[in-house]
């Protein structure tokens, strides 16, 4: 039988209190309860990175986290990255460099790359490729994603 739990968390700065099935994954709470569908589900096994969010300051795969375990947490999703309609430099660069094709992996890619640049202002290509190694992309072949992150680091 399903058990309901109360979960309080802040998402993109907004406080939420949600009653959810205890089996609910964080990704499903974000998508279905909060309606933030920019966080995607590609595998539910933690391998593809489409569900990447920032959880208490670290990029995390939200399909590997029970929503109940995020009680009290601070979460940033892709919807929370652009400030006042101004794209984050990584978003702008991915667009301009055609580092986005279908856009399904993109939110996770953006958050992984933004974390890298927050910690390392001028990463070399190997560091860029390692930083997004947890995020699969099937469209771009990664070349333009790497170019975009390099461009964002220079901006």
């Amino acid at each position: 039988m399903s058990q309901q739990v109360q979960i309080r968390l802040r998402v993109n700065g907004d406080a939420h209190e949600v009653a959810a099935d205890a089996r609910t994954l964080l990704v499903d709470l974000i998508r279905d309860e909060l309606g933030l569908t920019g966080t995607h589900v590609g595998c539910r096994t933690g391998h593809c990175g489409a569900c990447t969010v920032v959880l208490d300051g670290r990029v995390s795969k939200s399909c590997t986290v029970l929503a109940a375990a995020a009680d009290g947490a601070e979460v940033t999703t892709i919807e929370g990255l652009a400030a006042d309609g101004v794209l984050h430099p990584v978003q702008e660069a991915l667009w301009q460099e055609h580092g986005v094709q279908c856009g399904f992996c993109t939110p996770g890619m953006v958050l992984a790359a933004a974390e890298l640049l927050a910690e390392n202002r001028s990463p070399v290509d190997d560091e860029i490729r390692r930083a997004i190694a947890g995020n699969l992309c099937r469209c771009t072949g990664y070349e333009n994603i790497v170019n975009a992150i390099r461009r964002a680091s220079a901006s």
Binding site: L87, V100, C102, F104, T140
Partner: protein, 799 residues
Amino acid sequence: MSDAAESTGNGTASGSLMGARQPQIAGARLVQGQAVFAADVSLSGMLHASILRSPVPHARIGRIDADAARRAPGVEYVLTGAEAAQLSDPIPHYLDPAPIGGKHADVRCLAVDTVVYAGQPVAVVAASSPNEAKAAAELIEVDYQPLPHVLDAQAALAPDAPRLYDGWDDNVVLSFGQKAGDVEAAFEQAEHVISGSVSVQRSAASPLEPRAYVASWNAASGRLTLYAATQNPHTLREMLARSLRLRESDVRIITPSLGGAFGSKMPSHPEETLIPLLARLAGAPVRWVEDRRESLLVGGREQVHQFEVAADGDGRVRAIRNDIVGSTGAVASLPGWAMVLMAALAMPCGYNVQDCEITYTAVATNKAPWNAQRGFGKEAANLVMERIMDAVARQLELDPAEVRRRNLVGADAFPYTTATGFVLDSGDYDAVLSDALELFGYEDERRRQRAAREQGRHLGIGVAFEVMPEGGAIPGVGGGFDSATVRINPSGQVTVLTGVTSPGGGNDTALAQIVADELGAELGEIEVVQGDTDVCPFGFGNGTGRSVVTGGSAAALAARDLRERLVSVAAVMLEADVGDLVARGGKVVVAQEPERAVALGDVARSVVTLSHLTAMGVEPSLEASRVYRAPHVNHIPDEQGRMNPYPTYGNAAYAALVEVDIETGTVTPVRVAVCHDCGTVVNPLLVDGQIQGGIVMGLGVALGEEVAYGADGVPAVTTFAEYLMPRAADVPEILITHRETPSPYTLLGTKGAGEAGLAGAQAAIVSAVEDAIAPLGGRVTELPLRPPAVLDAMDRRAT
């Protein structure tokens, strides 16, 4: 002033966006996660579906006990095969093998009395939440009475092999042979006869977005709306009207953003019938989202080629025999099985070999069905041709690039009819090869390779030529044309309604560029609407690199018609001659007096508000609709029964550098260089993006990706932990250059580029690995080249 030079016709447009490196018009939405994918569609009162799938590869279904599932929390409906079979018909085949000499099998949305593959849908639950639906599905008890199964195509061809389908006298879906020229004589006279084989593994297209469907019935009108992750909404609409016994006009397919497809979202999957049926029975909208295990069921590519080649002493190939056997899994309503057929028809690719005997057999096995995968068998044709070129080079001790050069179709030979009847349209294959080799640094790399070998390092260089027939028009299926409506409103915004859809590569941007140019509108004013069968004109969606060639040309024609109308109205407004006007930058301008201009929106407003004054010379319409049928397609069989189903043949040459660790068998790709010719390039950013993605997919299928099955007939690969798609750190340097040989046939000179990259990269990487291990006597015959396979290949001494 360039505009003056172009203003030869009636108010020509400026043409500034053709060839521009224009980022995607949907880019801002995509990078912010604002695109809506099918799984994001949420309707009021929506239920969630979970599908119970067969755990065994072949069995009779005895009793199904769904009582516990029906009583489970949140459950609204449980549907099994017997009930589904009463309420729905078999799903029409995308391409039925029977009318072309093969066998037919009915495909239903749920298995009725027999399952023929592990993963086949057996029952489905609709419940209030996905978790409840899944938990309930697990409560359904099915009595499976096991039958013997067969997984391997050769084994399935044995006279005593288990049969998948009652009434079939063997497991052959379709077998055919094609012969051109005098093959026997060529082999008899040949200085060299070389034989070999190559075996390609089962792989999965595996887009990042799994399939998803949301079905909703309008109680008042009885109409079905299906939000579907599909590549071909109009095709799907007709298939579902038949399987669900509906008037086609009562079916609306809406394709939201697609998160990649690569063929795997072509129709029709069983769930596309199943989810609407379930929604009707449950009396509420139903959403189903495929999980990755389910996504990896959708297979393709698994085939074995046995080839024999007759060659002269100078490396000229005189004749080829090739026998292809594909393990196409269980029969589906999907187009995938026909990839075996296309592998045969696409030979001998870009090589001038007129004496060919090619046979193929698509074999049903107890694996999940195939669907299309990027390349659609044409990649296999390219692969085997490159294996042949390498075999000739090795036997004759010639440079592999030189052997290719000696056999490529010459630049003066176009249009060139291949042995299988394809008519290669245009190009300069030799120059493309030269450019690729130069970009790669071929001579230098050969020197470095020799130096490295002296130090005990095993570098390998592979060369491959790719011919990719694109824009296909298949008799009985369709394609080869598409439709567009271009509309302007009195505020000056332009809407392009098109029959082509985008799987994620950005063809909406290319269409917007084309329309902006033709209409003289600003790019930012253009919206492209795709994928809604109630709104968009009839079209074939995406696939076979068709979207820009057909849909882009249709949009260009419609925009031209609309421009002519607007310009003639503007001529009245400006009191100018039509011939003196150009449309550019959102205005109609007197070319020699740019201050005399009127905004396109104001012209549009004049058409509708002053129709009896300014628009008397035209229909007062703000839209134009056109269809573009690609020329250079021939569906009338020649005396040998051959046809040309493709209007364009993009081509490319690849060179790849790898390093092989001969102790571990590990392959490290170092560089891939390509020179590509898809004719006129509308947007190099998009084309290069396609090529890069294709190259990396080719790398994946060459080196790692495989859906293996256990002897028990159950897939052993169910997650990305086992299905090894390339990650960012696995990808080598990629260098791209272009040659533009415009198609002499298509409206804009474009050739399809949608499937570029994969075939050539796969073949070049395979060739490079073999080149690295050749000094040790290594010979590559089996893909993928994971370390154990490379070690095996080194043990397989050349004969």
